[in-house]
Every structure is written in structure tokens, then in C-alpha cells.
């Protein structure tokens, strides 16, 4: 599944370096779970917009949800609401 990086600074997921807003990254479900649990600000491609504030908020909500539940949120969930 394709994710977009929306973090403020650099992030590393294994050998991947994420440094630009909107940077695309292809991750399997387990890789995405690891990256989000590790605190990398990622949003699904389907949710990505140029609204940085909204994207950072969405990523933060998603990370915290993953850390609490240990699971990826269902794609399509309106976490931002």
C-alpha cells in the first residue's frame, strides 16, 4: 500500500530515509504497522492532501491509535474527524 510522509523532520524506516513532505513510500501491512508504531508520520495515499496541518494531525492521530491498539486503522476510517 502507498503511504505519504508528512513529518516535520527526517525519519528512517530500515534503510528508507523519509525527508520530504509528501514523499511516497510503498509499505506492506507489517511494515506500515512497524513504521507507525515507531512514530513515523505517514498517511495513506488516499487521504493525502497539501494541507500540512491537517495531515500532521491525521498522522499523529493514526500513530497514537496504532500505539494503543497495536493494529492498523481500517483504511477509510475518518480518523481525522
Amino acid at each position: 500500500m502507498t503511504y505519504r510522509y508528512v513529518g516535520s523532520g527526517d525519519a528512517h524506516i530500515g534503510n528508507l530515509k523519509l525527508e520530504e513532505y509528501g514523499q511516497e513510500v510503498e509499505l506492506s501491512e507489517s511494515e506500515a504497522l512497524n513504521a507507525l508504531a515507531g512514530g513515523s508520520a505517514l498517511v495513506p495515499e488516499s487521504k493525502f492532501t497539501d494541507d500540512e496541518v491537517a495531515m500532521k494531525y491525521l498522522a499523529a492521530m493514526t500513530i497514537n491509535e496504532v500505539r494503543e491498539s497495536g493494529k492498523l486503522p481500517e483504511v477509510g476510517n475518518e480518523v481525522i474527524e
Binding site: G7, G9, A35, G38, G39, A41, A60, I63
Partner: protein
């Protein structure tokens, strides 16, 4: 044969649900790439006591001893790094939880706030060295004794230390007893895909506000967070410390500034004499999302000393204790990452 290159190390941190039990699933460690935390150094020092028989031997030669209680201590240096977005706890969250005694308050999209609480929280620290044929280590039951945060560095860093229950290592794992394995049935391998976040915070950017006045002549500020947690190492029937304690907190700060006649300095000198409790807000970093803000309440400034060892006068406010706003507020110090 492999020689250990000290740069080839990664540190992983996990909160413990039960003291001294490495997070596991049926004995298999659950450490994952998401638990990675960038570090400058993390020293793990195990101690094994020696029990010596006290009876006379009939000569001046002593009998050989026997291994006694097992314990250890740790000391870590870390960059102050924020999470990848505002409102996301940083990678060093388990250490900050251990220092403050509670999980942070998450304000999604805005900030992460650590407030003091009395529980003693622990974490497991995994040191994986490449190649994995070298000794790998896990410090189980790490509790925080103290932390020191400084302003006016190049890269903003902090130093912290404490005790742990036991240091499990891959070389001795098979020889360890069950309590010494701290819940594990096998020594884990390093997880794949370590996830690391956070940008450099320039340590000489930010601000220091003393009693409502911004200090512009700051040359040094050190926040000492003595939370004084420890491991009870002398319980009957135990080779390992199996419980923790929390002693009185000792939060204090030192300030070094150029001598000037601005309000901030004049007021601080007056407070050194009056001992009126004041608030200090120290912020490291200036980039939104990458700032550490420490609020220290109830500070009673030490009377400053003056030094003329350089071309300008410097004022040194020595160790100045903080007692918070009340006995029940537990607000001697708080940290906001925003």
C-alpha cells in the same frame, strides 16, 4: 573472529508492564523496529556481589568466594529529539516516562506533555551490536535515578542514569537462572527495519524566562532532574532486585549569565537574596514541532557568585532547588515537546 566496532550499535527501548520482565509473548521478546531509539551512548554496568566466607581458615590464605546478589546501573546520553509530527511521543518516550513517572499527555497535532507522577516506571533497554556473533545485551528493569538537561549546547542533548534489575547477555543466557532471564526463554535477535524519528535541535536556540523575564545574556543553564528511583537489592530470598522504590525528588537548576543591568538579571539577583519561589521556563529549539520546553516551578535561586576570569563578568547561580507550586501538584518540573 569479529571485533566490536562501537559505532555498530542500535538501542531499542520498551516500556515494561511488570517490573523487571522484558516484554515478551510466551517467552519470546516482542522488541520490534518501532522500539528503536537513536542514542549517543548507553552504558550498562552489571554487578555480581562476591560472598566471602568469614570464618578463619587457620592460615593467612582465604577461601574462594561465591557469587552473590546481582544488580546493575545504566547511564545514557541522548539527543533531545521530537517525534516525527507534533503530538507524537519521541523515540525516547520510555526513558522520559521513567523520569517523569507517567505516560505523556498527547495533544494530537499540537504537543506531547510529560508531568511528574509518583509511580516508578521501568523499561527494558536492548543493545544490539553488529555482527550479532558479538555479545548482545538487555538491561531489564531499568528505572531512572536522574537526568540532566542543558541549554546552550550545539546539539541539544541530555544525560540520564539509573539502576536496573539485571543485564541479560547473549553469551551467558544459557547459564542464567529463570529470574535472571527476566521472562525470556531465548535471547532475541535484532529486529529488522528500525524506525527513527526527529531532527537535530540546535541547543543554543530557544529561550530562558526567569520569573517572567526573558534572559538574553544566558551562557549556561542546567536542569537537574533527580527523581531518585531505585531498585531494592536486599530482599530476603532474592539474588536479583525484584522491587523498586522512589525517594524524595530533587529538582534543581543552575544558571550562568553575563552580568548586565537588565530587569531579568537584576530581578534574579534579588530573588537570590529573598528566596521567593519563582517559575523558570527553559525552551530548547526554535522550530515548531522540535522544541523541548521545561517549566520549573517553585525555584529558589541561589545567591549568585561573580567571576572575572574572562573579558566580561559572569554570574553563576548555583544549585537552586525547585519545590513546585504545592505539595500535591507534583509540578516541580514538566516537559512539553511541541
Amino acid at each position: 573472529m569479529a571485533t566490536g566496532n562501537s559505532r555498530n550499535e542500535r538501542l531499542y527501548l520498551q516500556n515494561e508492564a511488570s517490573y523487571g520482565v522484558v516484554p515478551n509473548s510466551s517467552g519470546a521478546a516482542t522488541v520490534a523496529g518501532s522500539n528503536y531509539c537513536a542514542h549517543i551512548g548507553f552504558q550498562m554496568t552489571p554487578r555480581v556481589g562476591m560472598i566471602v566466607r568469614p570464618s578463619k581458615t587457620g592460615s593467612r590464605t582465604v577461601r574462594s568466594g561465591q557469587g552473590g546478589r546481582r544488580a546493575g546501573s545504566w547511564n545514557g546520553n541522548f539527543e533531545m529529539l521530537a517525534g516525527s509530527a507534533a503530538g507524537v511521543a519521541p523515540d525516547c518516550d520510555p526513558i522520559l516516562r521513567a523520569i517523569f513517572g507517567a505516560a505523556p499527555t498527547i495533544n494530537a497535532g499540537t504537543s506531547v506533555v510529560y508531568n511528574l507522577a509518583d509511580p516508578v516506571l521501568s523499561f527494558s533497554a536492548f543493545s544490539f551490536i553488529t555482527p550479532n556473533t558479538l555479545m548482545q545485551r538487555i538491561a531489564a528493569g531499568c528505572v531512572a535515578r536522574s537526568a540532566s538537561f542543558r541549554l546552550n549546547q550545539d546539539a541539544a542533548t541530555f544525560e540520564t542514569s539509573g539502576d536496573f534489575k539485571w543485564l541479560i547477555d547473549s553469551v551467558n543466557f544459557a547459564a542464567l537462572d529463570t529470574p535472571g532471564r527476566c521472562g525470556l526463554t531465548a535471547f532475541p535477535s535484532e529486529p529488522g527495519s528500525p524506525v527513527g524519528n526527529g531532527n537535530l535541535i540546535v541547543g543554543f536556540t530557544g529561550s530562558l524566562v526567569i520569573d517572567g523575564n526573558t534572559v538574553s545574556d544566558l551562557t549556561g543553564f542546567n536542569l537537574n532532574t533527580g527523581v531518585n528511583n531505585g531498585v531494592i537489592g536486599n530482599n530476603f530470598g532474592q539474588f536479583y532486585g525484584n522491587e523498586t522504590f522512589g525517594d524524595t525528588r530533587g529538582i534543581s537548576c543552575t544558571i550562568e549569565s553575563r552580568l548586565s543591568d537588565v530587569t531579568a538579571i537584576t530581578n534574579a539577583i534579588q530573588k537570590g537574596l529573598s528566596k521567593s519561589a519563582i517559575q523558570i521556563v527553559a525552551t530548547v529549539g526554535s522550530v515548531p514541532g522540535n522544541r523541548y520546553e521545561f517549566t520549573v516551578k517553585g525555584v529558589q535561586l541561589d545567591m549568585p557568585t561573580m567571576s572575572d576570569s574572562g573579558p566580561f563578568w559572569t554570574l553563576n547561580f548555583g544549585d537552586s532547588p525547585a519545590s513546585g507550586s504545592s505539595l500535591s501538584a507534583l509540578d516541580e518540573v514538566s516537559l512539553r515537546i511541541y
